[in-house]
């Protein structure tokens, strides 16, 4: 038995050597990724796409990939679109946000790429799509349909890129989003009344209310920071109140010589650390997820919840007096949701253009509100309940104050974890505001310097 096993070892060695040789050849042979599907010619449009033009395509299917958060809107919107363009059938697939950003780039790079799909702002998804030439430039479309001159023209900025997909914020337009998100202060109405606190209209007024709530034995702010991003939003709200929003925007979009160590950012860092040290976020916030925190807040724990408008959906069904939302007119960052793109290889681009056009209309804006989101086109839309109306007012105020500066974590592909982690250290009192700013700025310089 042993002898046979032994003799057959020799051929194995030969095989192994052959394998190593083949590997060495393979390593130097062809570079991976040489079969990219991008780079088709774009037919620019000079006038609006007409239903007749779309009809000329014959009976077609417009395929799409969307964030599952859009499903409610799409279920109202798609039937309306199919009625307008009867020869088009829309086949939309929905993915969770994490699945979408992890797979959409490869899907766009495949032979049967979806005609329309949502990417995500920043280098990892939209930047890769632009660099590989997988999405159609939309400057002609924006001009023809007046996107670049309507009330929400400024919200297009995060979908503008330079040619090689290395800088965004200005340049060629590659995507369009019709949904926005704003930050604000959610408050528990009954508790404010019991504590005799006025609704805070700014970070300063919020700060003044915190010790009052704490003295009454309440947890002033509900925070769940286990996912490392909830505190980043609180921080950016304070930071936006401490300085000209333009300074933040410059840094977010990688303007030369921009620095994170601005007086405003440092003051905001000291402020949030101080709040944390005084226990205004309660105990163990780094061990609670954001979803759990908003559920606790909805259940009556905590007086305030500082966060984005997407948290509102969990608060609308609360029994009266329920919850309100207050704007941060002196700050409060916000940004558009994932932009829609048209595949560079779409064989149905007139239909795809019509799809994007119809998304950016007042009718759709109302549908967006009705399905619990915030449209970029706010004029004429009305909210259903009190909290929805307040949220719309917050969005209006934020956009008017120029507070839609985007998010700090757009700056580099790993800023989310670098800044999220550094902020946890700062709030736990393990680092100073300066050290926090240094860590963040070092990561930024890794992408933008030189």
């Amino acid at each position: 038995m042993t002898s046979n096993a032994f003799r057959s070892r020799r051929p194995h060695r030969v095989l192994l050597a052959a394998g190593v040789a083949a590997l060495a050849v393979g390593l130097t042979a062809c570079a991976p990724g040489s079969n990219s599907a991008g780079g088709a010619e774009t037919e620019e449009i000079t006038a609006e796409v007409t239903p007749e033009q779309v009809a000329e395509l014959g009976d077609i299917t417009l395929t799409g990939w969307a964030d599952v958060a859009e499903q409610g809107l799409m279920e109202q919107f798609i039937p309306r679109f199919e009625e307008e363009y009867p020869n088009v059938t829309v086949d939309m697939q929905y993915k969770s946000f994490n699945d979408l950003i992890a797979t959409v780039v490869n899907a766009a790079n495949s032979k049967d790429a979806p005609d329309v799909f949502q990417g995500n702002i920043g280098y990892a998804v939209d930047g890769a799509l632009v660099e590989a030439g997988l999405v159609r430039p939309l400057d002609d479309v924006a001009e023809v349909y007046g996107w670049d001159s309507d009330a929400a023209a400024e919200t297009l900025a995060p979908a503008r890129w330079n040619e090689d997909g290395t800088r965004f914020g200005s340049g060629t337009l590659y995507g369009m989003s019709v949904i926005t998100e704003v930050q604000g202060i959610y408050y528990n109405k009954a508790k404010l009344q019991a504590l005799g606190i006025e609704v805070p209209q700014s970070i300063d007024e919020l700060e003044a209310a915190l010790p009052v709530a704490a003295a009454a034995g309440e947890q002033p702010i509900m925070l769940g920071n286990a996912d490392q991003y909830a505190a980043m939003h609180v921080y950016s709200d304070i930071a936006a109140a401490e300085q000209d929003p333009q300074d933040i925007r410059d840094w977010v979009f990688g303007e030369e010589d921009a620095t994170f160590a601005t007086e405003g950012n440092l003051a905001a860092a000291e402020r949030i650390a101080d709040w944390a040290q005084q226990g205004f976020f309660g105990e163990g916030y780094d061990g609670i997820g954001n979803e759990d925190a908003i559920a606790r807040f909805a259940g009556g724990e905590g007086v305030f919840f500082v966060g984005g408008s997407w948290n509102g959906a969990k608060l609308t069904d609360a029994p009266a007096p329920g919850f309100g939302m207050s704007a941060l007119p002196d700050g409060g960052v916000g940004a558009i949701a994932s932009p829609w793109h048209i595949s560079a290889n779409s064989d149905a681009s007139p239909a795809a253009i019509a799809f994007l056009d119809m998304l950016r209309t007042p009718e759709t804006a109302q549908e967006i509100v009705d399905t619990g989101r915030l449209p970029v086109l706010l004029e004429g839309v009305t909210g259903d309940g009190e909290l929805e109306s307040e949220t719309l007012a917050v969005a209006d105020a934020t956009i008017a104050a120029g507070g839609q500066v985007g998010y700090y974590d757009w700056t580099t592909t790993d800023m989310f974890s670098v800044m999220g982690g550094a902020l946890q250290e700062l709030m736990a009192g393990r680092t100073t505001a300066e050290e926090f700013a240094d860590t963040v700025q070092a990561d930024w310089e890794g992408t933008y310097a030189g």
């Binding site: 042993t2 002898s3 032994f6 057959s8 590997l23 393979g26 390593l27 570079a31 991976p32 990724g33 040489s34 990219s36 991008g38 992890a102 780039v105 490869n106 790079n109 280098y123 990892a124 890769a128 660099e131 590989a132 997988l134 920071n225 286990a226 996912d227 490392q228 105990e283 163990g284 916030y285 780094d286 061990g287 609670i288 997820g289 592909t413 790993d414 989310f416 974890s417 999220g420 982690g421 550094a422 946890q424 250290e425 736990a428 393990r430």
Partner: protein, 324 residues
């Protein structure tokens, strides 16, 4: 009983070579049939394991975002991996996890196996199945459950408050000092059942007469455990160590689903960065280089485990030979 394995190569081959050589034709055909039986598994293994590993090695020498044509960068990715201070810290955490994912489960498994083999327990099969349960649960489910257990208002803290130790209560995985051991203990809980079952099987194979002899020589329960059970389980211990060490070093899902490496960077492990490089930064070359480096570290640690296991083995063998 295992002495032949330790003989040197030349000693082994000569006496065992068959007297009459097998005709080459027949031997070739027999080999071919053997490979034919193996073929389905080999193809599967090749396509889903070998090829991806080779591709990872190849990609690790390129600057590649998964889309555009990759450009050759030689060892740059490896240089970046070796000079990244965050990765060194993460590797340090992994070695702490070795204690929780490997050493503790093996010790617990030995203890439980020793107890179960000695004490007659009613419903032993049920207990064994229960204790093995963590091993078969999805790690995501386990992580979510433990997040609840470690919660600031979770059962651990409730218990501490109930017995008057409320000062010790904390968000176990949200606290800089307790996060790493807390996540580590989840690994202990998952792995000890596997070790226990391995050791129980090993104990069942130990000759009962040995125990009788030990008892006749006056060995108590403890003496019997350390002088007979543990040494006899050496092969099982080595297997358990190899399995748990690999699990500890490539561990991603438990960390990702409990702390995402936080708070701060206190629970980061290399595989968290592999995920971030590949799926968030789309720097597939760097991710591959880190994955390969991690594989080399894992193989090295496993090698040390094997070496330690074998060294003790030969010492034991020498003693046995001397005794005879």
């Amino acid at each position: 009983m295992t002495t032949d394995v330790r003989l040197s190569g030349s000693e082994r081959v000569t006496p065992l070579r068959p007297a009459a050589p097998v005709p080459p034709k027949r031997r070739a055909r027999r080999d071919w049939i053997g490979y034919a039986y193996l073929a389905p598994a080999l193809v599967f293994y090749g396509v889903f394991v070998v090829v991806p590993i080779l591709q990872s090695i190849q990609i690790s020498f390129y600057d590649y975002n998964g889309l555009s044509v990759a450009s050759w960068v030689g060892l740059d990715n490896y240089a970046a991996v070796l000079s990244d201070g965050r990765l060194l810290e993460a590797l340090g955490h992994s070695f702490v996890f070795l204690l929780f994912y490997s050493v503790l489960p093996v010790m617990l498994g030995l203890l439980l196996a020793g107890l179960m083999s000695r004490i007659r327990i009613y419903g032993l099969t049920a207990f064994r199945a229960l204790l093995f349960l963590p091993q078969i649960l999805s790690t995501v489910v386990v992580a979510v459950a433990w997040r609840g257990i470690y919660d600031i208002d979770g059962p651990i803290n409730e218990f501490l408050r109930a017995i008057g130790l409320g000062d010790l209560a904390r968000a176990w995985i949200g606290d800089f000092d307790s996060a790493l051991p807390s996540v580590g203990l989840v690994g202990t809980w998952i792995e000890y059942g596997l070790c226990m079952v391995l050791f129980l099987a090993g104990i069942a194979a130990i000759d009962r007469e040995m125990y009788e002899a030990a008892r006749l020589d006056g060995a108590g329960a403890v003496r019997e455990f350390f002088s007979l059970t543990v040494p006899s389980l050496r092969p099982q211990i080595v297997v358990a160590m190899i399995l748990t060490v690999t699990f500890a070093l490539r561990n991603f899902d438990i960390v990702w689903n409990t702390t995402r490496g936080g708070p701060g960077t206190s629970t980061t492990v290399p595989s968290v960065f592999v995920y971030q490089f590949a799926f968030q930064s789309r720097d597939i070359g760097l991710a591959s280089a880190l994955a390969i480096a991690l594989t080399v570290v894992t193989l090295a640690v496993v090698g040390v485990v094997l070496l330690l296991g074998r060294e003790r083995d030969s010492k034991g063998g020498r003693r046995a030979r001397r005794a005879s």
